[in-house]
Symmetry: C2
Subunit: 430 residues, 2 copies
């Protein structure tokens, strides 16, 4: 089987992660303090969508799509709907695909397009959407069970879990782009040996490996999205790190759920990989009991086969030129609920989703040891320190630790597609 | 003591609620499908701030404030900061105050200003802000205790309650303006006599009497707002009805808090009454144990003396021309936490607030019977039906019920100021 290639040479390298089939979106600037342009990743480059639109090469597309390509975030493009996303993807493919035999005309066009590219290594990335609403789900049964065992050993999984995708509203204002430093937060917490709480920097700073689903088109208030229609509302996926201060969280979370233990920062990866690009990597979730009819999907391949990894790079590792160490690996298909089910449940009461809204999966842990998506699980709430390859121990994150999330789609006969990386380094408390 | 009056006659009537001292903000249109203008309530009128700015009568104010007055929401004005809000209030007072003796010049100006007014009865109101983030607190000890008794009779108040303002992120997209119909939502819930959950319209639809604090200026991510600075970030107050589906809520809320039991709709009253207008009605909260130092306020008058009422108008009452019946009355100063404490706690981990963000109080219940701010409390979770004056019984809300929230500031020697009304009528489920 032959994989279709691009005239952008680096796109065809086996481990590029940005082949012609991926074309993930981002928002970027070549220098600080300029207005972001939308871009599309191809090989080691970013094709500037804003300039491409102005170059007239997108003139086969409707005016609203061409206009949306010149916006600083993806929200306007999301609003255009799935037929428009598909048409743009097809046009970009036509522009970037290898054409044989070469003619003067396509050589000229390729020269023009190449002039609208920036090496990814020189780009400054920005948040790809202006997300007004961010919902965080709890869709990993393994995560819910592992965490439940720590807090309720006799009753780890609550009775509602198998019936509905549990979720809560996250804080949209503190979403930050990958690479933004993460300041260790202060907070109110209660030490086990003290009668009253204290206000001090968290001693239990943690990451959470998550995948973010970006909503493309929304729904009017009062109009639920039926499960059959839900996939068409999914624009694409990114990586998301839901930083968590466990000591703040455990003192505050009853009865209304997580709040300041989460809202100090949530990191987003720069690339949004479209649902269409991910379609060849569709895969079923593990067998589960049938849900209530409103959540019952017609097809079985409701998830995506995306390998997820968490790596840590400590100050010590960087000082000694040691590579990051892998903390865990899991797969998006380890989830109990699909994103379509989360969309339909979220809107089942009439709640309106809006273009650019983020529905995050919750921590993605798999069934086997080594697949736990946060330190809370890996270190059993800090009681079993984790030994890193360089001998360092971690119960929770230390100042200077960098956490790196990665996501990859691999399937025989298909090119490897990356979701890119989501990075953040812990700064000491103020 | 003489109360300063306005040349707008209806502003000086004892029960106007909109005297010269109030000047609450709103966003309104005279007809549907036009872009909202900002306005200020005076007597039975709305003074059009947009037209006033264009009339040059605000030329003594900085350009950004004049520009902000022509926006369709208050967000731009909020961003200008408390000195600007104060200057605008002073200028509006100068324009609307009674001037004796009258001169031709001020008669001409009053004629011009009067031409920029619309009777409130003819206005269509819109959401006064574009709120990107909505946080709902749980700041009434009496509410928390009453609810706790229903769900945990042996342990009504959780140990964290007296130490921190419990809160959670609400859904910003489904905030609606007073008067918007409220569709009874479907949801997943578990009936006590059934082994598995069902998906059906809620049978336990409830209101929650709340006050919304609008954030004026925000804070950068990573920079907490110290308690001494918190009052300057408060732009003003409104009424808020946090509609709740109790059966959906009780099945879904563990372990991550309320979600779809709340996110179908939250109603906002049209008027935003500024913190400066409310300053003469400042009052202390009930005595409480000292909080941790980061939440300790220097002054004692940290709340506002605002009488709050909930009324119901059922279909039967309207058919028989019966007036709405009062369900309860409480006071903003019945809360355990002040808005300044909520602001400081919310940002204590570095979380950034933004202009137009809403911090709602949570249900405001007082210590005595008849002051419970929701039906959950009034009917003991539906077990003790409430008899209305016309003989109707209510466990929870019925289709056709209209809920009316009211807020009033009254103090000897001061004019009565209203927060207006927040209304919503229940439509049957789809």
């Amino acid at each position: 089987m032959t994989i279709t290639t691009s005239w952008v040479g680096t796109a065809n390298e086996p481990d590029s992660g940005f082949p012609l089939q991926a074309l993930p979106f981002c928002a970027f600037t070549p220098t600080p303090d300029t207005t972001p342009h939308l871009g599309v990743g191809i090989g080691s480059f970013i094709l500037d969508l804003h300039q491409l639109s102005e170059s007239q090469l997108l003139n086969t597309l409707p005016a609203d799509v061409r206009q949306a390509c010149t916006a600083p975030t993806l929200n306007a493009l999301m609003r255009c709907g799935s037929a428009a996303w598909s048409a743009l993807r097809q046009r970009l493919t036509d522009i970037l695909i290898t054409i044989e035999p070469r003619s003067d005309r396509n050589t000229d066009q390729q020269r023009l397009v190449a002039s609208l590219m920036l090496p990814q290594s020189r780009a400054i990335f920005h948040k790809p959407v202006a997300a007004q609403n961010y919902t965080d789900f709890y869709a990993s049964l393994h995560h819910a069970t592992n965490v439940g065992k720590l807090f309720r050993p006799d009753n780890p999984l609550l009775p509602n879990y198998p019936w509905l995708p549990i979720g809560y509203h996250g804080r949209a204002s503190s979403l930050v782009i990958s690479g933004s430093p993460i300041r260790r937060p202060h907070g109110q917490l209660k030490l086990p040996d003290q009668p009253t709480p204290v206000f001090q920097p968290t001693a239990q700073l943690d990451y959470e490996l998550e995948v973010a689903a970006y909503i493309g088109t929304g729904n009017p208030l009062g109009t639920p999205i039926p499960i059959a229609d839900a996939p068409a509302h999914l624009f694409g996926l990114s990586l998301l790190n839901d930083w968590s201060a466990r000591d703040i969280q455990s003192w505050e979370y009853q009865p209304l759920g997580p709040f300041l233990g989460k809202s100090f920062a949530t990191s987003l990866s720069p690339w949004v990989i479209s649902a269409e690009a991910l379609a060849p990597y569709r895969t079923p979730l593990a067998p589960r009991p049938a849900p209530l009819p409103y959540l019952a999907e017609r097809t079985s391949t409701t998830s995506f086969d995306i390998t997820l990894e968490v790596l840590i790079s400590t100050s010590h590792m960087r000082e000694h030129n040691l590579p990051p160490a892998r903390l865990s690996a899991s797969n998006l298909s380890d989830l109990y609920w699909s994103f379509a089910q989360m969309i339909t449940h979220h809107t089942s009461n009439g709640c309106n989703l809006q273009p650019g809204d983020i529905l995050a999966s919750g921590t993605i842990s798999g069934p086997q040891p080594g697949s736990e998506g946060c330190l809370l699980e890996l270190t059993r709430r800090g009681t079993v320190p984790l030994q890193l390859p360089n001998g360092e121990l971690r119960e929770f994150l230390a100042d200077g630790d960098e956490i790196i999330l990665r996501g990859t789609c691999q399937r025989a006969g298909l090119p490897t597609i990356t979701l890119g990386e989501c990075r953040g380094t812990i700064l000491p408390a103020l």
